[in-house]
Amino acid sequence: MIKVRFLREDKEELVEYKEDLKIEDILRKFGYSSETAVVKRNGKINTEDENVEDNDDILIISVGSG
């Protein structure tokens, strides 16, 4: 399982791991895109094209305003 946390929304979801699952797939699943969010994978900023691994910790930071 992959833990997906949302910084601004202060919530957490679990996503089932699949082979070749990319960060951009996770963003899309939750209604985000490379334009609207920045992603930290296991504490490091990542580009959206990267594959995720099982048990990864994904933090989605909505770009929003402010």
Partner: protein, 299 residues
């Protein structure tokens, strides 16, 4: 994905095709802000600049970058924060501003709606009103920023408007047919007035997302919470539209900004209204009575 220097990329700029590692990205951010400052002569020798800092990512990234520049170039910097009086939101971001200012060694000033104008945003939001909370907040914030920075002796206000803010505003004003405002979104001012402190926007060519990346990669503590009264539906629609267009056709936002910048010198003089003084408070306005006095009368 790898940076041209061989290190792992942290960002892919779809609009330019650049893949940048943390070090190259930070270097590029600084260079781009510098380029905007030079292009429009936004900062000059011996300027006293008030950075309008809310505690959000844009204004704090701006503060950190300006502090870096102020160590090399001869200008003074102060942080000015407007406390709208939104419990559970602004009180938290003010603490973040203070921490950043302490860290950077920058003087911080805070001015509140309640003390200066007699009403907090929490009080205004509870009232039966025709306008949105954002309408009151925007007018009062701009009024106080101008008045207080002028009293401090500042000759410029630096605000953290990013590329997304700029193109949203340009498109909104154009679609609404608000040509007076449409003629006021440029990077410099056509008319000057002794009671009006000109605003500069050094981040106007930096996409919003890159401010987030810069804040994260430099461990800048910023407030990510949302204002409980935020909800300017029209701006949100425009933001969604522009983000969708940018995904389909990267460079959409830059093209819009560049087009606007090209026509700005032609439209600004004709569309921007001349600044006068409010008959009640004496502050600069384009009408006979400023919006702040008009709104305060209604409250």
């Amino acid at each position: 994905m790898y940076c041209k220097c061989g290190k792992k990329a942290i960002i892919f700029r779809r609009y330019s095709g650049e893949k940048l590692c943390e070090r190259c990205f930070n270097k590029s951010m600084i260079e781009r802000v510098k380029k905007v400052i030079r292009k429009y002569s936004l900062i000059e020798k011996n300027d006293f600049i008030a950075a309008a800092v809310s505690g959000g990512k844009d204004s704090l990234v701006l503060l950190h970058i300006l502090k870096k520049f102020s160590e090399k170039y001869p200008f003074d910097l102060i942080a000015v924060t407007i406390d709208e009086g939104i419990k559970g939101y602004r009180d938290k971001t003010i603490e973040i501003v203070k921490k950043n200012c302490k860290l950077l060694g920058i003087e911080s000033k805070v001015y509140s709606f309640k003390k200066e104008l007699g009403h907090s945003m929490d009080e205004i939001a509870k009232r039966d009103r025709k306008l949105s909370a954002c309408s009151y907040c925007g007018v009062f914030r701009r009024y106080l920023l101008n008045k207080k920075t002028r009293e401090l002796g500042c000759n410029k206000i630096a605000i953290g408007h990013n590329l997304d803010d700029e193109v949203q505003t340009i498109l909104m004003n154009f679609l609404r047919g608000d040509l007076s405002r449409f003629g006021r979104t440029g990077s410099y001012y056509i008319y000057s007035n002794e009671r009006f402190v000109p605003r500069i926007k050094p981040l106007r060519e930096i996409p919003e997302k890159e401010n987030v990346v810069y804040a994260l990669s430099n461990n800048i503590e910023v407030g990510f919470s949302r204002c409980p009264y935020a909800g300017e539906a029209y701006r949100n629609d425009i933001r969604e539209f522009l983000n969708k267009m940018e995904l389909e056709q990267p460079t959409t936002k830059y093209s819009l900004l560049r087009s606007y910048d090209k026509i700005y010198p032609l439209i600004a003089k004709n569309l921007a209204k001349k600044v006068k003084y409010c008959e009640k408070c004496g502050e600069p306005t384009i009408g006979d009575i400023c919006k702040t006095c008009e709104f305060l009368e209604k409250l």
